[in-house]
Symmetry: C2
Amino acid sequence: MTDTNHKNHYTENVQDHLKEVESLLHKHALVEEVVHKQELPRQDRHALLDTLLHKQHLAELQRKLEGLHPADIAYILEALPIEQRLLVWDLVKSERDGEILIEVSDAVRESLIATMNREELRAAAEQLDTDEIADLAPDLPQNVMRDLFKSLPVEEREQLRAAMSYPEDSVGALMDFNMVHIREDVTLEVVSRYLRRFDELPDHTDQVFVVDRDDHFKGVLPINLMVVNEPHMVVGELMLTDTIQLHPDDKAEQAAQSFERYDLVSAPVIDEEGKLVGRVTVNVVLDFIRTESESDLLNQAGLREEEDIFASVWKSVQNRWAWLALNLVTAFIASRVISIFEGSIEKLVALAALMPIIAGIGGNSGNQTITMIVRALALGQINAGNARKLFAKEIGVSGLNGLIWGSAVGLFAFLIYHSISLSLVMTLAMILNLLVAASLGVLIPLTLHKLGRDPAAGSSVMITAATDSGGFFIFLGLATIFLT
Amino acid sequence: MTDTNHKNHYTENVQDHLKEVESLLHKHALVEEVVHKQELPRQDRHALLDTLLHKQHLAELQRKLEGLHPADIAYILEALPIEQRLLVWDLVKSERDGEILIEVSDAVRESLIATMNREELRAAAEQLDTDEIADLAPDLPQNVMRDLFKSLPVEEREQLRAAMSYPEDSVGALMDFNMVHIREDVTLEVVSRYLRRFDELPDHTDQVFVVDRDDHFKGVLPINLMVVNEPHMVVGELMLTDTIQLHPDDKAEQAAQSFERYDLVSAPVIDEEGKLVGRVTVNVVLDFIRTESESDLLNQAGLREEEDIFASVWKSVQNRWAWLALNLVTAFIASRVISIFEGSIEKLVALAALMPIIAGIGGNSGNQTITMIVRALALGQINAGNARKLFAKEIGVSGLNGLIWGSAVGLFAFLIYHSISLSLVMTLAMILNLLVAASLGVLIPLTLHKLGRDPAAGSSVMITAATDSGGFFIFLGLATIFLT
């Protein structure tokens, strides 16, 4: 009933807290270092470490942490190197373990969970809502999940099972079960009395859901509408029926776009029988969008997953190796293409110096096209009707760019090597390679999309491979025909 | 008072609407084509175009559009090629011009505004809130802005001036002025009666703001807290005072992180005197995050701005040319590095075929490091204390990758060219270039950050330039020393 129920430890700049924690950790470490430098026998060292001074920093640190919001603790844990991170993790009061685990990134969560035993994990998970447990589930050991299932009431057990059954990118994976249901034949007065029985409403309750006796969804009653209307009004007269309804199997991205387009705070999730099964709230959508956009950026650089910046060297190598291996294969292929023309290069060694220009600019231009197309595909803006128009436009852009930059490289080649025919070959090769880049830049993502695969993943490697090998082949091939 | 005040034309799949609009446009176009094929004199053709059939499709299209949410119309406009887009834009009823202009992307907005005259633009802008007018302002002609300023009431004129004065990436640019103020010494009963005088509360009113007589911010009263408490309670007893407060000059990204961390729906914006000047709502934050992440992706591919997929060839070339020019310069430099070693390549032409492998993998690895570091910098996770640790880790990762992939390329070279010394040079060059990539991958973004520049912009070009030229130099240099 009072504000102590609310998480009110907000902070405007979490980095200040981070600095404070780091300074306390540093003091703590200094003491340890002094103790170790004394080169005392192990048991004496231990005694000294137990001194007041030493404990004092840790106690201060613990007090500091207790005053922080779980999300801020999560942030601090992510920014600390592994040994300091685990020290802080040990100090965090165990009642908040669950909330913090939900907030940290996947990579860091793994490092924290690794330090917890079965009992601690079960206790941490039990503090959470069922939809949150479902989010944590992939990282929890099987026996912990079994314990959890046993300890949950029947209804929540069913919710957990349901939440875990949906794929990660579906609405079902985003939804929670913290809804307020009301009936349509009551007055606002009755609803008000009902709501006053809650200590607090679930977070993000901007509307309550109107259902019938069998949980069939009837409509929504925005709290704001309740507040501006007279108490004698009946729910059924005020409720909105023509609002967005999500389905557990919808794509999460589609739901996110609905939230963006219609500025929603929450939306009901309805199953195929028309029953209300859950709701999605804007905070989850915000996290989803941030995570998606970050994984797009990471994928573009070939990082398989979010990497804990303090992960071990070996873990990082594993995260990155697939991309390097893939690119190595395409580099080998390009290398073999060049070796076909070794004879020409021996005769005219300038070709070796000039060929990376053609390949490189082709790759850059192709990636620009791909980025455009992938974005338009994600927004659903490309279809059979306009694909041809787009293709024509990209060919036009490349043709024009080819003329401009082809002339530039032609001029460059002429200034250095004083050969008009070499310079013309450069120009022609540039135009052709940019046309290859444009065609494939449109075709590769469209084809991947048609095959039901994610056009964002892999398009970039393919186009770069094509413009590298293709660029070398076109340039060296033309040179072989016209120059040697 | 009724739900007709709400924008309730939600749709679950806007792509269905797009298809319908396209099919109507297609029918319309078919009629025009038939008319033109008749090869009639111009005036007869015109008469025929005026036939019932022709008008009918347009009328049907107009009815369709009237039923759609402004955000959905914006979506459809973005997905249509330019001539069809303008046809649809003409059909949209003028009362909704303003709302739609706010929703479309910058690039498309420009194409729409270009078709409107001064009077139409003024009328469109007048439908909007002052914070929305401020968003539109950069795209509006000066004389329209002057007209607008003249037509606004004094208070709104001041708001507009304030909103326009903040830089694009500040909290001031995100805030709106649609707040409900209350005093702390009244009861919930009084607040309820006050709120009932509104037809509807502003969107995203999850809390009302408590201020004193001089607009000094005192705290917030969540609507949900109002709903669960008894009417005789006094605002001052219930209000929360320890909540997040934003300032107009704060970075927008920092505010976005607060919304994510604390799951906010709205937050007050307070000036330096402690007065409430506005509020930020989660829908604006959502748009901000989406736009930011898209511009990250676009920048990575060197697209200067969001590109209308149906922009003219010439416009697209302008959007993309700077990136290609920049990369061309770095390619020229790499080319000059290679030409230093033309003598060695003439003697051992295999070098020409192998050198792109070293340069390419160096670039990939460097970009992986940069992506990690830029992300950690954006989250504020890197500081003087841990930068050295990170550097050491990245060197370790590169060293290990260099050994692994260096051995692979060494083996590849041996299998093809049967020279152990060539193969050893390959391995050594790969290790060295990956170490260069790791060092610069950490140093470049940290340096840009220290200089107060955005580490995301430009890092990637610089690292690729370094690993290309560096890779060629290292490999050909080693080869010149040991092989020729």
